[in-house]
């Protein structure tokens, strides 16, 4: 029996109708074989629009539906639901995208209309070959994996754990706390970072529902929403976590001192160390590259002094597999490497430092005990803070790092407070958009900080006047005065921006998620699904998605937790049925497909001598389908016949 197809062309207000002559598209569709009805409507996604479809299914007995409107990424679920509500299987519906890839890209109404006809024609031909499919439901494992123990991951972990669900928190470093643990004060309230962070860190360490896996990373992630397996590599700390009481005697006795990463190399740490005193877990690790026992085979002083016998030089790296239903990535960011911008002389000119180095100087437990000092040990009398280092710069990163304006002003305040120095801010624009931020800006202005509107061109030690001798000279065009200014100072602070972590590519690959053009993880929708990804069950939060300040990171951590909890509370999830299947009658057992599946979803049945697809493992890419020389493998909802029908229709439309 011939199919009865209904075609609905959406105007999308004027979004489509402005460039596509919808009437002509409807006329064209009406004339296509098996099209029972073709209509146009202002907004198909509105309730009356959906009603139109439902009514026609019931009254005209439609067996197939095509909606020509926006991208399926936008409203496919809406219309699938609508046809299902009218009693038609949702896979008997097809969407023709005549907005994103047609009306919006063209100014030529004639050509856009022709293209729309081609797109609609292809959908009409395709839908004839579509088949009803059943959606499978699988249970959701309530355990959650959180990757990254910065403030974002901490927030998410506590939210989920407090709801009674199990959390595995994986942190690469020996301690959680992330960048926030290294900051002195936080803007705009100027409360000390440690005061607000460390209680949360302690909660994480003590929470019965949180299993903290520090000094560990995720090396593999497989499965599907609700049922993932994460492979965790636990690096050897050479200290037995259960035995260690955190007394710190080992660190005290260790004879080796090396620059501390936590202090940006400005201070020292031992070869057995905790990054900072409030570390969680409060367990030191041995830095194998510097430990005398590991490098020279002698010492073992720490072992001798440890009252609990917690030091274990034989400890090995181990791998564990965790079963989780959802994952939250809160992997954070890297700071921009200031030495890349040669004209500012970082690494070449002494007393040019980064903002994070300033934080460490300013921190009471930092390398200088909270004093801002020049290389010669004196206090600076003038300090320049250069904004947008590595940000808003086509040579490096085009995006705004969002936090530098505010933290630069915080630094101005701290610098002024601690040294009494004259402080200059070289900025492009001041972006003080958050709650209390503009007020903070005003406060800093009133503290007599000199704001010079102009991106610094360079920092030089080549003097042009006697006053510049022995100083660092910041050269910038003051765009308010329209002159080039040369400002001699003692210290230059580079307000470095955020960058995607160096391992972002690898992490994205492990979790099969995408990155946006700037390299950060890509959210499902920039406005409506900011912590979801294109992969169901995997969420992103905090600065791994893009530069963010602490309030926004915490908000995202909580949002991701809510998303994960909502998924867990649904108890089961539906799987897209667009998987591959093998017709045994056609399979000759040639094994061409076997090695092609990235998920090992194809196995060979030795008794029947045919290949088989495991539905639960198949992700529905269709690689095997295209390779099968017998045409024995098909992909549901992407069958050869469906795709060929589209091809034929498009080609015929071009004539």
């Amino acid at each position: 029996m011939a199919e009865k197809i209904g075609v609905y062309v959406c105007h999308c207000g004027t979004n489509i109708a402005q460039t596509v002559d919808c009437k002509r598209v409807v006329d064209y569709a009406s004339a296509l074989p098996n099209v029972t009805v073709a209509r146009e409507y202002q907004y198909m996604c509105s309730d009356p629009g959906q009603e139109l479809i439902k009514k026609d299914i019931k009254e005209l007995g439609l067996t197939r539906v095509v909606v020509a409107s926006c991208s399926p990424l936008m409203h496919e679920p809406t219309f699938r639901r609508a046809v299902e509500e009218a009693g038609l299987n949702q896979f008997l519906f097809e969407m023709a995208n005549i907005r994103e890839q047609c009306s919006w890209i063209s100014e030529n109404k004639e050509m856009a209309t022709e293209r729309a006809k081609s797109i609609v024609g292809a959908a009409v031909k395709r839908v004839e070959f579509q088949e009803p499919l059943d959606v499978k439901k699988v249970p959701v494992n309530p355990n959650v994996l959180i990757v990254g123990g910065g403030i974002t991951g901490i927030e998410a972990a506590l939210q989920i754990a407090d709801s009674g669900k199990k959390v595995y928190l994986v942190e690469k470093e020996p301690t959680i706390g992330g960048y926030m643990a290294r900051f002195d004060k936080t803007f705009p309230t100027l409360d000390c970072a440690a005061c607000i962070l460390t209680p949360k860190m302690v909660s994480v360490g003590q929470h019965p529902n949180i299993e903290l896996l520090s000094y560990s990373d995720v090396t593999g992630f497989s499965g599907y929403v609700g049922n993932f397996t994460a492979r965790i590599r636990r690096r050897a700390k050479y200290v037995e976590e259960e035995e260690c009481s955190g007394c710190g005697l080992c660190t005290e006795k260790c004879p080796v001192s090396v620059p501390s990463e936590f202090d940006c190399g400005l201070g020292k740490r031992k070869a057995i160390y905790r990054p900072f005193p409030q570390a969680v877990p409060n367990v030191p690790v041995i830095d194998k590259d510097h430990c005398l026992y590991f490098t020279k085979g002698v010492c073992k002083v720490c072992q001798k002094f440890c009252p609990r016998g917690a030091i274990n030089f034989e400890q090995k790296e181990t791998y564990i597999d965790l079963q989780v239903g959802t994952a939250i990535l809160a992997t954070g960011f890297d700071l921009f490497d200031a030495s890349k911008v040669k004209q500012y002389g970082y690494g070449r000119l002494p007393n040019v430092i980064t903002s994070l180095e300033f934080e460490r100087f300013s921190h009471a437990s930092g390398p200088t005990g909270g004093k801002i000092l020049l290389k010669n040990g004196q206090m600076p009398t003038s300090i320049a803070i250069l904004h947008c280092i590595g940000s808003r710069d086509t040579n490096f990163n085009e995006y705004c790092s969002r936090v530098c304006c505010m933290y630069s002003m915080k630094i101005a305040h701290l610098a002024h407070e601690k040294t009494g120095a004259r402080v200059y801010e070289f900025y492009i624009d001041i972006r003080a958009f958050g709650k209390g931020y503009e007020e903070f800006y005003k406060r800093i202005l009133e503290e007599e900080t000199t704001f010079i509107r102009g991106k610094a061109a360079e920092v030089t030690d080549v003097p042009q006047t006697p006053a510049e001798k022995g100083k660092l000279v910041v050269v910038a065009e003051d765009t308010l005065l329209g002159i080039v200014r040369r400002v001699p100072v003692d210290m230059v602070v580079l307000s470095v921006g955020f960058e995607p972590r160096k391992d972002t590519i690898e992490t994205a690959r492990i979790f099969s998620i995408s990155r946006s053009q700037d390299g950060f993880f890509l959210e499902r929708h920039p406005k409506l699904a900011p912590v979801s990804t294109a992969s169901d069950g995997i969420f992103i939060a905090g600065a791994c998605q893009g530069p963010k300040d602490i309030p926004d990171s915490v908000a995202q951590g909580a949002a991701a937790a809510a998303n994960a909890l909502s998924l867990i509370d649904r108890k089961e999830v539906t799987l897209e049925p667009t998987v591959a299947f093998i017709d045994e009658k056609s399979c000759s057992g040639c094994k061409i497909c076997l090695g092609l599946c990235a998920y090992n979803a194809i196995t060979f049945d030795e008794t029947k001598k045919v290949s088989k697809v495991n539905d639960a493992l198949c992700k529905g890419c269709g690689v095997c389908v295209a390779a099968c020389p017998s045409g024995a493998i098909e992909q549901r909802n992407f069958t050869d016949n469906q795709l060929l029908a589209e091809v034929e229709s498009i080609c015929a439309a071009g004539k």
Binding site: K342, Q343, E458, T460, V462
Partner: protein, 295 residues
């Protein structure tokens, strides 16, 4: 394009005039290093200078003609003048990115029975020597090291800006590296990529002279005995205007300027004449006598 070390050589206008010694020494050291430079047949103006900002399309056309000629010879284009480098690279890039420009230029080239498919790379000789030839090959040819000759490595404004992805754009190091291979000592020269003032000399000489002076000051204060240049215009400006600087600022600079290719040639053991070293305005005799034996 053919073997990496075979190039169509584009000298550019200045190397036929005031900067003959650059041309001479570039050819000599290239030959020594096995870089085959065959002068591009029938080359024309690169389109640089004021042309690009006044008649952009025509400048591109001039540039494209040179590129088309090089493509016909199936070789990449080697240049020594950073202005030529910038202009030729600019046209090359713009044509690749802008189909409309490509079409317009294609139809113009067609009138001259030429076509350009976009296969030519434009490269500065310094970059070819440092990156393609490399340390080992260069050092192997140093027969007379420029032992501890203190040189200010001067790149000028256009070597890496805006298109040079081969070195840091604001603070290049390639010439420093090469000078070390030759046994010389590149001094700290923070103004290495600053404006020489050349383009200002005809329109606003006081400003231009000020720029030359700061370069000389900086080089001298850092102990440089000479300046190594890679740009014909920088070279002329630094050398020919030292007298005016001295007059205006009551200074007494006599800092020799040498093309990097001349310094290479010296280290490789060529005599002054072969390298055009006798042709400079500020004699380098005294420093060479001190550092380079029996030149």
């Amino acid at each position: 394009m053919g073997s990496r070390l075979e190039f169509s050589y584009y000298p550019g206008c200045s190397l036929e005039g005031m900067n003959k010694a650059y041309d001479k020494s570039a050819r000599v050291v290239s030959k020594e290093l096995g870089i085959d430079l065959t002068e591009l047949n029938d080359w024309n103006c690169c389109g640089a200078s004021a042309y690009m900002s006044i008649q952009e399309l025509r400048a591109h056309l001039l540039s494209a003609r040179n590129l088309a000629l090089a493509e016909k010879e199936k070789k990449d284009l080697a240049v020594v003048c950073p202005a030529c480098l910038t202009t030729l690279t600019k046209s090359n890039r713009y044509m690749g990115e802008d189909p409309k420009l490509r079409r317009t230029i294609a139809s113009a080239l067609k009138a001259a029975n030429l076509q350009y498919l976009g296969t030519v790379k434009v490269r500065h000789l310094l970059e070819v020597i440092v990156r393609d030839i490399g340390e080992q090959e260069v050092k192997a040819r140093v027969s007379r090291p420029l032992s501890d000759l203190k040189v200010a490595p001067y790149y000028g404004c256009q070597f890496t800006r805006p298109f040079g992805d081969f070195d840091d754009k604001e603070f290049p190091v390639m010439l420093d590296t090469l000078l070390k291979w030759l046994g010389a000592e590149p001094v700290n020269f923070p103004l290495k990529a600053k404006c020489c003032g050349g383009m200002l000399m005809t329109t606003n000489e006081p400003v231009g002279l000020g720029l030359v002076r700061s370069l000389l000051d900086c080089a001298a204060q850092n102990g440089a005995e000479c300046v190594a240049t890679i740009c014909p215009l920088c070279h002329i400006t630094l050398e020919a205007y030292q007298g005016n600087v001295n007059k205006r600022f009551a200074t007494s600079y006599k800092l020799p300027t040498l093309y990097f290719t001349q310094l290479m040639g010296l280290a490789f053991g060529f005599n002054r004449k072969e390298l055009g070293i006798n042709e400079e305005l500020i004699s380098s005799k005294h420093i060479l006598a001190k550092h380079v034996e029996a030149v």
